[in-house]
Amino acid sequence: MAENVIEKDTVIIGSGPGGYVAAIRASELGQDVTIIEKSDTVGGVCLNVGCVPSKALITAGHRLQQAKDSSTYGITTSDATIDFTKTQAWKDEKVVARMTGGVQMLLKKHHVELINGEAYLDSDTQLRVMPSGPRQFMDNGGGQTIKFKHLILATGSRPIEIRGFKFDDRVIDSTGGLNLKEVPKEFVIIGGGYVGTELAGAYADLGSHVTILEGSPNIIPNFEKDMVSIVKKNLEKKGVTIITNAMAKKSENKGDSVEVTYEVDGKPTTISADYCMVTVGRRPNTDNFGLEMTNVKLTEKGLVEVDEQGKTSVDNIYAIGDITPGPALAHKAFFEAKTAAGAISGKHTANDYIGVPAVCFTDPELASVGLTEKDAKDKGIDVKVAKFPFAGNARAVSLDAAEGFVKLIAQKDTGTLLGGQIVGPGASDLISELSVAVNCQLNAEDIALTIHPHPTLGEPIQEAADILIGYPTHI
């Protein structure tokens, strides 16, 4: 195979949020970059079948609901209807295609070579690229062999399939859930995490009766109870049935429907639905691409072990995003991508961020960064906590969305902000201010002494800081 070896400078496997950002940054820093992507489009799960398209469906759901019921504001319309094919076309063509096209253009602009195919690692310095698609067999002579100086693994993650729920045309994963051709009448969602709950809200808005089966006592368990309870109340208002402590047992494809059996306290129940979406989590893509042929070490949880620069146990191989420890979030991958690309280029970069913000696009939105009150308690850190409700905020009231609150967690003796949570209108956007504050280790006083414009949804952050320094204003 020696005659068929191409030598490359920096090779990146995967063009998701981690991969494409690493490519751009590495190129900006003077590297010669090649990305290997197995699917037809760039952008990975996030752009194609994750964060971005789900936001489109959520928007469509909101618009439909507003169109249907704005009588509170004195607006009445004749019955609003939805052409879901058109909704999907808008999502695919105007949202997803536009974003992935944008990424493709950026890669081109940065002279990143894009190879379509599946990468298989041979060693710490060599891989083969095979044409994408199913294969009967593989032999060592197949594909194009590439010798690389640096490699960044950005292979991402994929949905977990559970026993008794083999994916088919009725039992679907989140990708299937985003690409439904029709709005299901009955929609069962197994797993009430952030993906399941977001889509539960979207499809409920779009007209489905949604049933969430969640194994733990609460939906969206990674957010605090006082935040989630607001979301839960809203979902129930939308008509969503939430069944917690539910163990999904099996599914049966009935051709035009699916029967789902679950147990609560050992008592089995079977419900029928048009579709059953399984969103119980994701697993890292660390298998099936020859990683075992390298000296890259995995953690006990099967994630790639990396140092503060994203370097694996092999000096010239870096790993970023979902395959590394920490939350599987696109923006974490963005950051790690820049760190790894910098490290390869000899920069003193480090993943020394404080707090990875997490956002859930429910109604209302949930967002959190840094420590929660409970985290601080678990770590034995003495904190003071301030909470300001959106009910006291003019903008929230004028939006008719005065639900929720802003919560700030500060170190008790110093006032340094350690974390913040927001549940309420615009939480996904507002959390950025708290991300800056936490990552810069600002003091509550710094926030309190910063003018926040009026009337906006951001004011409760300043109000909460006022509470922390002992001089609350609007409460």
């Binding site: 140092d307 503060e308 620069q309 003193h348 970069t349 480090a350 993943n351 020394d352 961020y353 404080i354 110093t414 006032g415 340094t416 990552n439 810069c440 280790q441 003091n443 006083e445």
Partner: protein
Amino acid sequence: MAYKFKLPELGEGMAEGEIASWLVKEGDTVKEDDSLVEIQNDKSVEELPSPVAGTVKQIVAQEGDTVEIGDTLIVIDDGSPDTGDDDQPAKDDKEAEKSDSDKTTESASKEEATAGPATGSADAHYLAMPSVRQYARDKGVDLAKVTPSGKHGQITKADVDSFDGSAAPQAATQSAAPAAPASTNTITPYKSATPELETREKMSMTRKAIAKAMLNSKHTAPHVTSFDDVEVSALMANRKKYKAIAADKGIHLTFLPYIVKALVAVMKEYPELNASIDDSTEEIVYKHYYNVGIATNTEHGLYVPNVKNVDSKGMFEIAKEITENSQAAYDNKLSMDKMSGGSITISNVGSIGGGWFTPVINYPEVAILGVGKIAKEPYVDEDGNIQVGNMLKLSLSYDHRLIDGALAQNALNLLKKLLHDPDMLLMEG
């Protein structure tokens, strides 16, 4: 059962030595006080006697090995009862110590890594903005050691800057030390465009000791050298007269004993020449003994054994000791004691044809007399007549911190007087 003989302290703060040669081998029977080994340290070779009687079980340190105080050199089976600690074969013991110290190094470096520049570990954040954290990484500054000046204890970019400029007290020196040695100690590697035309060899311990001593002397004592010459026909005649008598006694009489004797008289007149400076207390230490060192060149290095208490010794005795000392130097058998506690040193290059030169003081002494050859040169005698004189070249280097030029010249004048008229030595010496 087994006695482990460890390198004892050799005095003068010597921390290590080299095994020059073993005088016993494994299986030998040794008596107490039998010489076991010759240890070469900086400038001397010491024979170490056995503290016990027994059979040599194992020679642990090999010839050429550098050993430190406390290192086991040899194991002697002395028939004593087992004590838990001594039961271990010496080699194992040494290895155990080594791995122990390895462990220490390892854990030390681990600690260093933990305390190092802010890393990805979320708990290792110091109160600093992300841009300041990046700036510190770029500059290699460990935020743990930076004194914050910002409100609420924030470390600012300026703090990192001032730390890097080592303005931050104490902490700065601490961190700078391991990273880069103090600038005075910076070692510039010797680079060559034609290394193939050169060879390299390790400096011997003696060479290193000489280099260190010379550097220290030149670095510490501001040297001034006064040159002079003196007509020594009478001295030559005297020596000629007594040379044979000395030879009968088995003594080789050179000019050196005369010069030694003359120096005693000079030192008595000018005690500053027989002194040292204690920098730590800013005191002048006057010595009330007269130990005159003679620089001795050997094939394995330069040594300065001194003849002790020359003021109370006769010329023959001094001559005899000079010969013995130089023989010991040639044989590499000088003890440390012979080379310490000197008053002043004589460096003689005249015997090999040298003239005036600028000898380097044998610090902490404050003066050294360079003795050149005796050359036949025109010379104006006391009566104003030009004669063929036997001119001895003298070069006196002295530590100007203590000795000023006039004093040095006056001392030289007296020395000249004594060497010009050796009868004066009877009076003054």
